[in-house]
Amino acid sequence: MTSETLTSESAAGTASGPALLRAIQAQPAPFVLFALAVATIVLYLLGPHAEALVKFPDAWVLSPTAVMNDFMRWFVDLTGPVFQAIGWLLEWPVKGAQWLLAALPWSVTTIVFVTLAWIASGWRLAAFVLLSMLYMAVIGYWPESMNSLAIVLISVPMAIVVGFGFGVLGFYSERARRVIMPMLDLLQTIPAFAYLLPILILFGFGTTVGLVASVLYAFPPMVRNTILGLRAVPPEIVEAGEMSGATPRQLFWKVRLPAAQNQMLLGVNQTTMASLSMVIIAAIIGGTNDIGWEVLSTMRKALFGESLLAGFVIALLAMALDRITYGFAKRDRFAAAQAAGLNPWLAGLGAAAAFGLLSLVVPALSDWPAAWVYNPAPDMNAALEVFVVEWRTWIEAIKNAAFFFLMLPIKIGLAKAVSPFTWGFEMTTPVIAGYGALVALLAGWAALRGRLTLAAGIVLAGTILFIGLTAMPWLTLAAIIVYAAWTTGGRMLALGTAAGLAFLLVAGVWPQTVLSIYLCGVAVIICFVLGTLIGVWAAQSNTVSAIVRPIIDTLQTMPLFVILIPFVMVFKIGEFTALLAIIAYAIVPAIRYTEHGLRNLPSDVIEAATTVGCTPRQLLFRVKLPLALPAIMLGLNQTIIYGIGMLVIAALVGTNGLGQQIYIGLGDGDFGVGMTAGIGMAIIAIIADRITQSVSRRKQEEYGLTATVI
């Protein structure tokens, strides 16, 4: 406070040099932001005269793609046969599983999974699984579904073994953990698409690519949960084991491991989900007769009915696998062991065997009869056609409004977006002056209330909005990001950020990076505003919570492809569709964390606030929201990570960012291009992650609260 009064006084009075300098030192943020805005405007106006500072000169670009490709070629030449052999070996279990699931009568497979669901959680889940499997059969996607499932069934145990091994290693050796953890970060932030590429190059086309990619993508959560679980074992339990005379080996297998079991089973759950989503994504390389390919190929042919129906299969698979593995993780094994009566394992086995024998006699129980297949896709396509034609004006209106009034201004700036054709007037000098005055007015209002940082922020935001993200001089845009890293995370983060941005610039993917930041940024802002509102509402009202919860749960378990489908159906290909898909996926954590944060505040603080006479509104705005800020910031963090994850998938429906680059690299088999874009994506994700994390952490430390990733 004192520093702010100081600065306003010195600004109002005779701003002598030393006083101003002292003010800047006391509170540099407003001055730095203001300076950045001024520099941006100057560079923008200089434009052609200082081209190197506005547009990163091509001459400075040192694209690493050729080197990467050379390296990859050399590496493949060197190790090709080894990987071919591994691939050949890995193909067998997958083929075996696919053969088994194809050979088993559908009735037997169904009974096996229904039994698992029943044991994991009870009859409700069993009924859900039964209906899901019947749906796959009725709709006629049984073989494709089983092919995808087979890869998951092979990849999950492999991922668990690998993850468990690294987890135990990381638990016992601090040095190993210091290597493993960043490796996991990298594996989880590099978009899934990007590492399909090297695997494809190394192993060649085939089911192995899906398998290897899915193991690589799915083992990190197992590592994390293994380490977390082993570390969380109460020291007294370990001591009790030691005092009981356990040898080191006994201590691990009989004490630590069983005590950490539930956390590890949660790891199995996450691993399964990750594996499935990667198996689906891997379908993009084609050549496999699985359900992911079904979705993609029909979507490309604009057969949206088929696409949606197949997508629904994936969603059902995901939900069933999620609930079953989660059920096993949370199951009360002890109560179950004590419960008398029919042993569900035996009962299920018996029923499966009975149906197996029966299906030898009744063919309909073995292969789903063609006559029972009902595929409503053609009807759906017709209905969609009618809908789109009927509502064309509305659909176009929504799309255009969002495009011209929201997306385009941020992308290319008001300076270019405003035209008589769209906005109804032109960007004449008086209009520009008016805009400047408006920004100045807002900033002045903030400054008068003593909030200088906000004022400077408004000026900077106004500048960016006028120029547009893509036209921003690279120098100031990078400076803004580095400054954000510096104020939130300190010098190390700023240095890391600067290095990351330098890579993007030198590698020549800056324009694509900015496009990615733009699309993801718009989506994140919308998600954050909308999601926080919904989260607050859901925290205040149990009814809203009861409605919202299943929806966001479903959205979260849904494989990313599937989320695209409904939006493509209505809005066709384009940036707007991509935006909607990103929002649909990335809004989940914004809602979840806000509600969670608001609902899990220390009850004594709420009681204290109520006793001193807070109205419900005051309670919300003055107590709950500020205290929930760390959780909300963590939600923002997750929103950004989710948004970046979806950004790559959204490239399928036509965006021009790094996602598209990855996609191009994958299509052309160009390792360098794809990998550079993938690393670029990871850099953005890591920078955004670290900045938001440190804000959340600082708030947590200030309040002495803890917020955890849920």
């Binding site: 007294e236 009981s244 069983p258």
Partner: protein, 360 residues
């Protein structure tokens, strides 16, 4: 049930030090923690602290006799848990010796240590330390399982100790289905399953409600009357220590401040720190007739007889009605001395810090 002072020593803790920090060994070159005198040890501890290391236990020495309950009492951070962990080697002491039945535990190798723990030691933990995935009987049988005792036999043995602690009927329950008191009974049963000679209890009742705590203390004393273990019992509760200790040590900042019988501590506190604890003690409960008997006065007519270990509290009704007082008789049947109402008041008055200012 006091132990005769000449009873055989079971466990001897000699000049045990535990120092945390960068290179704690540097302070113990040329000597194994034994610096000759207490004053020198104190100076050495200060020297270590000044160098930025943390002294969790400094020159701790005491003996535990066969069948004795030895209590280590101290506030949190006083090093009492560190000491018991050094005794059981859950924590490796930086210097010193722990002699169990003539063998130095601190010099034992891993294999020997495991054997010691499997057959000679039992330990009870503050938060029970039960295996969450095992039911009561398997938790109790767990140490036997580790030794490779066959299932049937270890279940039988476990069943015995479960009966001993009064948990029959709960054998199939899992820890989280039990109350705190019941969980600690499981912890106690487990620690007794291998029939240890040496029994460590680390704040066993601190996590329990006051009423349950009291009940468990009684249970514990009953068990000890049956089992005659050599016990090291850790607590932060002075009254609990008084109730169960044969002898006790008070610790502060890693150092032992005083060792003695509870009554010695109360009557002759070594310093103000110990006196602070004794302030809240109801003296009449701790003092016995023998403690306050006046040996200079002989038998007088009208006096009754009473044995020396009678607590003063139970003597009050008699003294209220008999001005002549009572003659105290020792364990050997000889008269020790007389006690009257004034003697009791004098003894109790010596514990009053702030006497009322009586005006004329």
């Amino acid at each position: 049930m006091p132990v005769a002072p000449d009873a055989e020593v079971k466990l001897s803790c000699r000049n045990v030090w535990k120092v945390y920090g960068n290179r704690p060994e540097q302070f113990f070159t040329g000597h194994d923690g034994n610096l000759g005198s207490d004053a020198q040890a104190k100076a050495h501890a200060q020297e270590i602290r000044d160098s930025g290391h943390i002294v969790a236990a400094a020159n701790v020495s005491f003996d535990v006799h066969v069948g004795e309950i030895f209590v280590i009492m101290g506030l949190s951070g006083s090093g009492k848990s560190t000491v018991v962990r050094c005794l059981s080697r859950l924590v490796d002491a930086t210097a010193g010796e722990v002699i169990l039945d003539g063998q130095n535990l601190l010099a034992a190798n891993k294999r020997e240590l495991i054997e010691f723990r499997r057959h000679k030691m039992g330990m009870v933990f503050q938060n029970f330390g039960l295996m969450p995935h095992l039911n009561v009987i398997d938790n109790v049988a767990f140490p036997l399982e580790l030794q490779g005792v066959p299932l049937k036999k270890r279940r039988e043995q476990a069943q015995e100790v479960i009966s001993l602690v009064g948990l029959e009927g709960r054998e199939g329950s899992f820890p989280r289905q039990l109350s705190g008191g019941q969980q600690q009974r499981v912890g106690i049963a487990r620690s007794l399953a291998v029939k240890p000679e040496l029994w460590f209890l680390d704040e066993p009742f601190s996590a329990l409600d006051p009423l349950i705590r009291r009940q468990m203390q009684d249970e514990f004393l009953r068990l000890q009357r049956e089992l005659h273990k050599s016990i090291v019992f850790i607590t932060h509760d002075f009254l609990e220590a008084l109730r169960i200790a044969d002898r006790m040590a008070i610790m502060r900042a890693g150092e032992v401040v005083q060792i003695g019988r509870p009554v010695d501590l109360i009557l002759n506190p070594a310093d103000d720190y110990v006196r602070e604890f004794t302030n809240d003690v109801p003296w009449e409960m701790v003092l016995t007739a023998g403690d306050i008997a006046d040996g200079t006065r002989g038998f007088a007519p009208g006096m009754g007889h009473i044995s020396a270990d009678t607590s003063v509290a139970t003597l009050l009704p008699y003294l209220a009605d008999h001005d002549a007082g009572v003659m105290v008789r020792g364990a050997d049947g000889e008269d020790i001395g007389a006690v009257n109402a004034r003697d009791v008041i004098k003894a109790l008055a010596s514990g009053v810090d702030n006497p009322a200012l009586v005006t004329d």
